[in-house]
Symmetry: C2
Subunit: 132 residues, 2 copies
DNA sequence: TCTGTTATTGATAATAAATCCTAATAAGGA
DNA sequence: TCCTTATTAGGATTTATTATCAATAACAGA
């Protein structure tokens, strides 16, 4: 038996899809508890992590604050307002990244951070040796 | 009197420059305390934050762990190894981002996150009104 | 050089976010 | 239905970081 389809998983995933904004885990807890008061905070965190790991959701890390989550529909980027803390989608083609300062979306852009996730050559090697 | 040039600031900044890796705040605390045992953890955090705010250092947020810091020399990106947790520089031109999967650097790239920091139109407006 | 102001520090308490722990629960195969 | 075990609830705990505040020390001016 691999993975179980629980009420909690369905409700959390559904809540994330419904929330068009970019909620923090805690936002999701509040939302979900309005429908299902007995759900545990740890459960919501666990399910959100699983969704993020499987690629069904995106985790957005913000300086000086909690992680935000985003139901993945299409590849896109995010702007974080340093003032109010809100996170919004950016529908900007990657190619124009270099023209950041000319952005006319109404956002004042101070900077950006790009981070790759993967596995370094050393770890790839170890993994391969273990597999072989 | 604006900003004071203290021994602590000099030592922390110097340590960050010396550390070619991408240390966490705690790594820097350990390093700095080897030279200057009485320095406080809070002081190191405070100074690192100031460096990051002023653009002299870069804060790199990693899933599931402490922030890493990087002495800024030139614009570049980072790879985080999901396996060992190490962070390394990526000297990849932005233009080739779309060709991620063809990357031949030896890293297995699973994904990336790009995040802008700035101020949203609503906040820009409020700021302007307050200033005027 | 001495002195006063105040930015900064050290030490520790406090906070925030997320995870761990474990008994209880319930999904779903037989 | 029963059994196995993945999953949950709920609180305790951990980890990273910040707040607090008295003590210290930069540095401008006398």
């Amino acid at each position: 038996m691999q993975e179980r389809n629980t009420l909690q998983k369905r409700i959390v995933h559904e809540a994330l899809i419904e929330m068009a904004c970019h909620p923090t885990a805690d936002d999701v807890v509040v939302k979900v508890q309005s429908k299902y008061p007995s759900i545990s905070r740890a459960t919501v965190y666990r399910i959100l992590n699983k969704l993020a790991d499987s690629g069904e959701a995106l985790r957005i890390r913000i300086n000086n604050g909690a992680d935000h989550f985003d139901h993945m529909t299409f590849p896109h980027y995010h702007v974080h307002c340093n003032n109010c803390g809100r996170v919004a989608d950016v529908k900007m083609p990657v190619e124009s990244l270099v023209d950041l300062l000319k952005d006319t979306s109404g956002y004042k852009i101070f900077g950006y951070s790009l981070q790759f996730d993967g596995m370094c050559p050393e770890c790839v090697k170890v993994e391969e040796e273990r597999g072989a």
